[in-house]
């Protein structure tokens, strides 16, 4: 998917991530959520919960652990909302 950055989901996700990020860097699809944005494992759950609430989805463990970058997250939300 090449249009990740233009999507609505990306916009929403960026907003949520920005609120939790400790590192002051521009959020792009290739930014790694935990590593680059300096978000720790407790805060990750805040984010998971917010996203699950907004999109009415639930991340299966296996899927959640494989999400690394913002792109992964946006694409996963896309897949889970299209089911």
């Amino acid at each position: 998917m090449c249009n990740v950055q233009d999507s609505h989901v990306f916009e929403n996700v960026s907003k949520i991530l920005k609120a939790h990020a400790h590192a002051d860097i521009l959020i792009t699809p290739d930014v790694r959520i935990s590593a680059d944005l300096e978000i720790d494992s407790v805060e990750i759950f805040d984010i998971v919960m917010e996203i699950e609430d907004i999109y009415d989805i639930s991340f299966p463990v296996e899927v959640a652990s494989s999400i690394d970058t913002v792109r992964d997250l946006v694409e996963t939300i896309g897949q889970l909302t299209n089911v």
């Binding site: 400790h22 790694r32 959520i33 935990s34 590593a35 680059d36 300096e38 978000i39 720790d40 494992s41 407790v42 990750i44 759950f45 984010i47 998971v48 919960m49 699950e52 991340f59 299966p60 463990v61 296996e62 959640a64 652990s65 494989s66 999400i67 690394d68 997250l73």
Partner: protein
């Protein structure tokens, strides 16, 4: 579906069993059992102990046909009926289960696969049972090994059965991967005797279980506090348990309280951060927490501020702060070592930290205490009567009131040793039976107060983080620009832990250093899931021991004393201890 009854309908036997199988055999005669809830509080699955026993006996026959007795079987410890069934099936089949953690969300997969690989090799597992949800990850972690992967439900075990020979009173029970750095995880071997002794002490001496008690837990079942405290100990006292998975708790902590409220739970534990999370996320749901008689705190340093916030938020919902039970324990002692007196709430002690650092005595803070160096500790209560506990100095001499020293314990709850396949068990105690807990503390009259770790281990939000792991990752990320490095924790005046990495940096180029700092910071965070502040220091400036090994303790003291002139402007993390 209805949750299992609080009243078992049989006479309460307070932990007087020799094996876990005996405990389940007896509990199976009553109506109590285990219940598993969804994050929204819906009951997903419920088993009486009788049903759990039948299912476990069925699977035990299959395990006995498939694997040699005393085989070690890894169990990916999701919070489910399948997990507790498989765990009990191993007990009935004389196998030694080794509960393993689940992968973390967002970038956790790679590290997890590496960890699983290491644990499997170290424990010499014959098989690994996993829920379908992470089977692909487990398969990928074990590719190239001969370890059999089996579904947690046992559905793909061969259907043939053999006579299952259950564990006896002198047998092993399970392997608990606990402390130990990622590169060398340590598998602690619990025996039927150590588990039975500790559960009996928890039930009779610590929590003083009575009829009408009900346990509620979100604690991970791969951790001693979850596995022993909130599965095995309630089983040893025939209590019903309401389970919520740790990840569901982290998403919706309110569900934990909702279960206590609706099921009239009386016993439930969490590290401080769990209470903090509940207060932070509370949205005004109607709750009645008046049944909660023992709100335990364990698993990391007890932080009174976090608990005050909880009380403030939930007192209107019937929460009574005298229910707080601060406790201390470690997996090497099976689980529990000390409990605060019941119905007494938290007992705090304000200490002059600067004087403690220089004199080794924990003296109460006074008007003379410098600002920012007073620290509030929470008492961890009295040692279990069935255990010996001493606080000793470097010459192993017992210390008196308010003198800080190493905590050592002795007694029947101490586990058998560290396990490594094809090697003899590595004992946990010295010749006289004393276990070094690795923790420091002092006596405040007859109560134990924990002040920190004597080992270099970093305890962060209930998790053990080994400095070697941080340093190793920093080395990898920094390449030849980084010489040596030392990771350690510092506490702010609220007791919150900050992880710091001092790294000797070869480059003087600001651009290179900025990039290095970013890379190392990202890599260490990815590896540990915790924030690590990176500070560069001059080459050859980190202290070493007499044998030439890096001394983290000395680096930490030096940092707090201001010895390391930071090599950049601004934003230096300042220590507060004695600085």
């Amino acid at each position: 579906m209805k949750p299992t009854a609080t009243t078992a309908g049989i006479e309460l036997r307070a932990g007087t069993f020799e094996t876990i199988c005996d405990a389940l055999d007896y509990a199976a005669e009553g109506n109590s059992g285990v219940n598993f809830y969804h994050s929204d509080g819906r009951l997903m699955n419920s088993l009486t102990y009788g049903e759990l026993r039948n299912n476990a006996l069925g699977m035990a026959g299959q395990l006995a046909a498939a694997f040699a007795r005393e085989s070690r079987i890894g169990l990916v410890a999701e919070t489910s009926a399948d997990f507790v069934t498989a765990f009990m099936a191993c007990q009935y089949a004389g196998m030694v289960p080794a509960p393993l953690s689940l992968p973390a969300a967002f970038g956790g997969r790679k590290i997890y696969e590496r960890q699983v690989g290491q644990m499997v090799r170290q424990a010499g597992l014959a098989a690994l049972m996993t829920p379908a949800s992470v089977r692909d990850i487990i398969n990928s972690a074990l590719s190239g090994t001969s370890v059999r992967v089996v579904d947690m439900s046992g559905s793909d075990l061969p259907s043939g059965t053999a006579l299952a020979l259950r564990h006896g009173a002198n047998d092993l029970s399970y392997i608990q991967f606990s402390s130990g750095c990622t590169s060398q995880p340590k598998g602690i071997v619990a025996t039927q005797a150590s588990v039975s002794a500790n559960c009996r002490a928890i039930i009779q001496e610590g929590l003083q279980v009575v009829e009408g008690d009900r346990a509620v837990s979100w604690l991970p079942l791969y951790h001693d506090m979850g596995l022993v405290g909130f599965f095995i100990a309630p089983l040893y006292s025939q209590l019903s348990i309401d389970f919520l998975s740790p990840s569901d708790f982290a998403r919706r902590p309110g569900t934990w309280l909702k279960l206590i409220s609706e099921n009239r739970g009386t016993l439930s534990y969490s590290p401080s951060f769990g209470y903090e999370l509940c207060a932070r996320r509370y949205r005004g749901e109607v709750l009645d927490l008046s049944s909660w008689r023992a709100a335990g705190i364990g698993g990391d340093m007890v932080r009174s501020e976090a608990l005050s916030a909880f009380t403030q938020t939930f007192a209107p919902s019937g929460f009574d702060p005298s229910a707080f039970v601060s406790s201390y324990g470690l997996a090497e002692a099976t689980l529990a070592v000390s409990f605060a007196p019941l119905r007494a709430g938290l007992r705090t002690d304000d200490i002059d930290l600067a004087r403690m650092q220089t004199s080794g005595r924990a003296l109460p803070a006074s008007d003379l205490t410098f600002e920012g160096t007073a620290r509030r500790f929470v008492s961890s209560g009295r040692p279990l009567p069935s255990l010996d506990l001493r606080i000793v100095n470097d010459n192993d001499e017992a210390l008196g009131d308010r003198q800080v020293g190493r905590i050592i314990v002795r007694g029947p709850s101490i586990a058998a040793g560290y396990f490594r396949v094809n090697e003899p068990l590595q004992p946990l105690t010295n010749e006289d039976g004393w276990l070094e807990t690795g923790d420091l503390g002092y006596w405040n009259e007859d109560e134990l107060v924990i002040t920190g770790r004597s080992k270099d281990l970093i305890l962060w939000n209930g998790r053990n983080i080994w400095p070697q792991d941080i340093e190793g990752v920093a080395q990898e990320a920094g390449g030849r620009n980084i010489a040596r490095s030392a990771a350690f924790d510092v506490q702010d005046e609220n007791g919150a832990i900050k992880i710091l990495l001092l790294a000797e940096c070869r480059s003087r180029d600001e651009a290179v250093r900025a990039e290095l700092r970013r890379d190392i910071s990202a890599a260490t965070r990815a590896a540990t899931g915790a924030p690590v502040s990176v500070e560069f220091v001059a080459i050859r400036s980190l202290p070493t021991t007499s044998s030439g090994k890096l001394s983290r303790a000395a680096a930490r003291i030096g940092f707090l004393a201001g010895d390391f002139v930071p090599q950049r402007q601004g934003n230096v993390v300042a220590g507060t201890l004695g600085a």
